[in-house]
Amino acid sequence: MNTPACAPLVLVVEDEPQIRKFLRASLIAHGYRLEEAETGKQGLLLAATKPPDLVILDLGLPDMDGLQVTREIRAWSAVPIVVLSARGQEQDKVAALDAGADDYLTKPFSVAELAARLRVALRHAARTQSGEAESVFQVGDLCVDLGKRVVALRGEAVHLTPTEYRLLTTLVQHAGKVLTHQFLLKEVWGPADVNEVQYLRVYMAQLRHKLEVEPTQPRYLLTEPGVGYRLAGE
């Protein structure tokens, strides 16, 4: 194995050997080191003994609920967790995200998608760890200067209401990551309004109309149906 020792260590917790095989091949090709676990218990043990830089966790494990694994890891570690699940299990995804997972991938997924998610998760973790927050966020034509509190599109300043701005900055702080409705509502409106999804709908629509060229085919403010929103990170 010629992967350098400093390459990020990924722990894969997945019971399907075929998926593990495919992940092993593609992750090593992308320059990651790998630990594999077949069961949740084994995964937890490995996560504790050989602390990984990132965990890929299948939600449907034979011995214990993936949600439970997420919670247990979160009890003592901030390692980024990307969960794998099947389509139609939006509730499970939301639960996993709310339990502390960083992102999710719906099976089947392409290697490109996987690599992108891993990059975002790792970058985000690095930033959180170092404590430094980038004060200027740039993606495509959109530029958000958190220090100056200025939002610009193609170089022109865009006027946002305070709530719209709060919503946008929350997304910017987690750029590339999916954020659940609950999380956004709590961050922007406070814990009392975590169920008022319609607030989000209205303000996201307003933001899209101000920031997107074609609001029905957004480039920056992406909707994850049934789960939440994501600000395009790259």
Binding site: G88, Q91, V202, A205, P225
Partner: protein, 898 residues
């Protein structure tokens, strides 16, 4: 269980009989009611089957009667040559017994068992030949008509007017190992006769017109059916003897026992039961309600009810008839039920009463015709059912009625006093008669009798000289008084009877209409709950009682349905009683002989197909028991209710079955579709992957990439197919629960377009969604699926590069989304069919879907209370629309900021 062990000598007898039977051939009789029902045909058809199975069958004697269909059946079978017998110059062909026994087939066919052989044959009758064949250990199949049975000879000649000469002893029939009844309804038989398809023996042919009458044929058919049934019964009996089954099974006989309120009737019922057991007959206990019985005392009624219940406990059927005359009703009922014997108690009345009023027994015997009447004596044995003394005098009218009757007579006296000077004594008597009639019409029997006597006394006292004494001067007045008293008594009796009949008619009318009303409402009930509610309401009103309907659960435990709020509370003890009633199918509880400690009376609800529940009735009256008449009515009501419940159940079952069949059909369509649609992409994947694995060196880079690409594409397609399949299945099973939330349509269209980005490449996409479109309450994931499926559908059925247009707008109460393409449009008339399962159009791309996408859309939209439809655009192309209802009130929004 010493008693149930078979008697050793009987066992020995049976063994010997068995042994004999084993050596003996088996006899099978094809039995019919009349010539032409198809016995020979059936016998030959069966024989052909056996012959085909390799059984050695020989036609010993087959009578074709020159009918080609029968002759045809004998073709190819071995036929025994007939023995030629010369008799009075003609040569007759007879069954050759010796040849048949010498040939020793497994089965020998001999037609017409009752045939008389030509003189000079070894045996006189053919059945004797057959006996000989059987003794030789050869099985025989033969045919026989019911008219040829010895014991029925008389009856048949009575019915048909023809004396049959050829008879077979009943024992031959009884010992047959198998009897197959060949039954044909009289109408069909007559039809055959008309077509000339029946051969008639000479004797019968001569009298054919009188013989083949529908009535005759029906009677003969009944005889044949009954004889067969009796034969089966005997078989059953011997089977039961063999297997020591002691319960008596009812045979064809029926005994009717007449019961009234007399205390001796309990004994009578028991005696009748003994008679019934002896003859293995069915027992029916009948009481008749006449105008007289309306005036029975409470004790008499109770006794009657008790007797009827006693009969029930003895497994008798109980029936209450109503009519004017006991004898008329009994005879009529006995005839309709084919009763063979009537049992009746010997009445203990004085001779003069019998002479004057007629004797029930005498009348019955005179009128009963062919039905045997058994008169059972009323011994001194006291019956436990009826220890209460029989009351002699029953005041049936309350005392005010007597006062009123006296008043009427006084009024008449007053009128007469005014008329006295000018009119003759006869006219004064007329006024009194009028008064007596009035009293009879208004006050009842007792007072009218009193009025009659008073009227005569008043006439004598006030107007007949010497006046103001009861003495009379002229003896001729004695005649006047006697006639007047007689007339007064007669008219009053008649009046009372008319009044009673009117009353009883009124009462019956009332109950009939109540029954009719209930039946009508039961039929009209929309659902099961309404049915139960209507039924119990009617019962409550008609019988002034509290009612509880207990229905069995899957385990057969009865209980009051929780929806029934009007039911009286059934305590655990009563619930036990109700359970007993349900299990045994017999009435029990208050006022009956079974479990009388219960608070209410429980009747089983029985319908054609079995038990449906239990009806509990609690009388509001103090004693809580019902009179026989009411009980009878209750049973009628309960039967109606049971039938209605069963009908409703059957209806529900039918619907369930239909649904199941539909599901089954769908499942098989799904399976065939799935196996095809899933295999196609799999075949591509397997093929491409195997090329890559096996021969890396031969393939150039370009080909390799192409193969890899097709693996990826087909895998994607497979994923979508499976997704749709899973989804459709879940929708079908109804376990897709909507997670409704406030939703902006923009956010539904966006992700769908993103997911299809690759497929949509190169197509102009135009979206027109108004900014001010309100939020809808919907499941975001599902609505996105709808948009996705509609887009994919458009992609599949339109050429690449053609535009797709998405628009959404608001109507009064809905939001409408439209997805239009510029393809060929939908074929005329398929606008609805496209949403059907497994419907596929002609694909533009050549890759047809499974025909589930649009079905899923329809399912999802329908679940949201919306509508989905398709239209062809005027300028070409197809447009798919779906609408989602807007909620009454919009969402609560945060106070705006600027």
């Amino acid at each position: 269980m010493e008693t149930s062990r078979p008697d050793p000598s009987a066992l020995l007898q049976k063994l010997q009989a068995d042994e004999k039977r084993q050596k003996r051939g088996r006899l099978k009789i094809f039995f019919g009611a009349a010539p032409g029902v198809g016995k020979t045909y059936a016998m030959l058809t069966a024989a052909r089957r056996l012959y085909a199975d390799g059984v050695d069958v020989l036609v010993g004697y087959g009578e074709t009667h020159k009918r080609s269909e029968v002759a045809e059946l004998m073709l190819g079978m071995e036929i025994l040559p007939r023995r030629q017998v010369e008799y009075r110059g003609t040569v007759l062909g007879e069954f050759d017994l010796d040849a048949a026994v010498a040939r020793r087939p497994q089965i020998l066919l001999v037609d017409e068992l009752a045939h008389t052989n030509a003189p000079g044959s070894r045996f006189e009758k053919r059945w004797q030949d057959v006996e000989a064949v059987l003794e030789a250990g050869i099985d025989v199949h033969t045919t026989l008509n019911v008219q040829h049975l010895e014991s029925l000879n008389d009856i048949v000649s009575q019915i048909t007017g023809i004396q049959v000469q050829e008879t077979v002893p009943d024992s031959v029939f009884a010992q047959a190992d198998e009897v197959e009844l060949i039954d044909l309804p009289p109408d069909s038989l007559l039809e055959r006769l008309k077509q000339g398809r029946i051969y008639l023996p000479d004797v019968v042919a001569r009298a054919a017109t009188s013989y083949f009458r529908k009535g005759n044929l029906a009677a003969l058919r009944e005889l044949a059916l009954r004889r067969t049934a009796e034969w089966v019964d005997t078989q059953m009996q011997s089977y039961k003897d063999e297997h020591r089954i002691s319960r008596v099974w009812p045979a064809g006989e029926r005994i009717l026992v007449y019961v009234d309120e007399s205390p001796l009737c309990g004994r009578l019922v028991r005696a009748a039961k003994r008679l019934a057991v002896g003859t293995r007959a069915e027992l029916i206990a009948v009481s008749v309600e006449t105008p007289d019985s309306l005036r029975l005392s409470q004790e008499d009624r109770e006794r009657l009810v008790a007797t009827l219940r006693l009969a029930e406990s003895l497994d008798a059927e109980t029936v209450t008839l109503s009519g004017r005359s006991v004898v008329d009703e009994l005879v009529r009922y006995a005839q309709t039920r084919n009763v063979n014997k009537i049992a009746i108690g010997k009445t203990i009345r004085s001779l003069w009463k019998d002479v004057l009023l007629g004797s029930l027994v005498g009348d019955l015997i005179r009128r009963s015709g062919e039905i045997e009447v058994y008169v059972i004596s009323g011994d001194e044995e006291e019956d436990p059912v009826s220890r209460a003394p029989h009351p002699r005098f029953r005041p049936t009218s309350p005392w005010p009625a007597y006062v009123m009757a006296a008043g009427i007579v006084a009024a008449c006296t007053g009128v007469d006093y005014l008329l006295f000077r000018r009119f003759d004594l006869a006219n004064l008597a007329m006024i009194y008669l009028l008064g007596v009639v009035l009293a009879a019409a208004t006050c009842g029997r007792g007072p009218s009798v009193i009025a009659s006597v008073l009227a005569v006394a008043a006439l004598d006292f006030c107007f007949v000289p010497p006046r103001l004494t009861l003495a009379i001067s002229d003896t001729q007045y004695l005649v006047t008084f006697a006639v007047m008293l007689l007339v007064a008594l007669l008219t009053s009796t008649l009046m009372v009877r008319i009044r009673d009949q009117a009353e009883s008619a009124r009462e019956r009318e009332k109950l009939t209409s109540a029954l009719y009303a209930m039946t009508r409402e039961l039929a009209a009930a929309r659902d099961f709950e309404e049915l139960i509610a209507n039924g119990s309401r009617h019962l409550r009103e008609t019988f002034a009682s509290s009612v509880a309907l207990l229905l069995p659960d899957d385990a057969g435990r009865v209980k009051v349905p929780t929806e029934d709020k009007m039911a009286f509370e059934v305590d655990p003890t009563d619930l036990g009683v109700a359970q007993w009633v349900h299990d045994h199918g017999k009435m029990a509880g208050r006022g009956t002989g079974t479990l009388p400690g219960a608070r209410a009376l429980y009747l089983p609800l029985r319908a054609a197909q079995g038990k449906v529940g239990v009806l509990g009735v609690r009388s509001e009256e103090a004693d809580g028991a019902f009179a026989a008449k009411q009980l009878y009515l209750l049973e009628t009501f309960a039967n109606q209710l049971a039938l209605a419940i069963e009908r409703r159940r059957v209806l529900a079952d039918t619907q369930q079955a239909k649904l199941q069949a539909e599901t089954e059909r769908l499942r098989s369509a799904l399976l065939s579709s799935v196996s095809h649609d899933l295999r196609t992409p799999l075949a591509v994947i397997t093929g491409a992957a195997s090329s890559l694995i096996e021969d890396r060196t031969v393939l150039d880079e370009e080909t390799k990439r192409e193969l890899t690409r097709s693996i990826y594409d087909e895998a994607e397609r497979l994923n979508k197919l499976i997704g749709n399949l899973v989804f459709a299945t879940r929708l079908e099973a109804g376990n897709v629960s909507l997670r409704k939330e406030w939703l902006a349509l923009e956010e539904v269209v966006g992700p769908a377009l993103t997911r299809l980005r690759e497929a949509l490449a190169g197509r102009p996409i135009k979206t027109t969604i108004r900014r001010d479109l309100p939020l809808v309450q919907a499941d975001g994931v599902l609505i996105e699926q709808v948009v996705l499926n509609l887009l994919e559908n458009s992609l599949r059925y339109t050429p690449p590069g053609t535009p797709i247009e998405i628009s959404a707008w608001r109507t009064d109460k809905t939001i409408v989304v439209k997805i239009a393409d510029r393809g060929a449009g939908l074929p005329q008339g398929t606008e609805q069919r496209v949403f059907e399962r497994f419907y596929r159009g002609t694909s533009a791309s050549g890759t047809a879907g499974m025909g589930l996408g649009l079905t899923i859309c329809r399912g999802i939209v329908a679940a949201h209370g919306g509508r989905i439809w398709a239209e062809n655009e005027p300028e070409g192309g197809a447009a798919f629309y779906f609408s989602l209802p807007l909620p009454e009130a919009g969402p609560a929004l945060p106070s705006g900021d600027s």
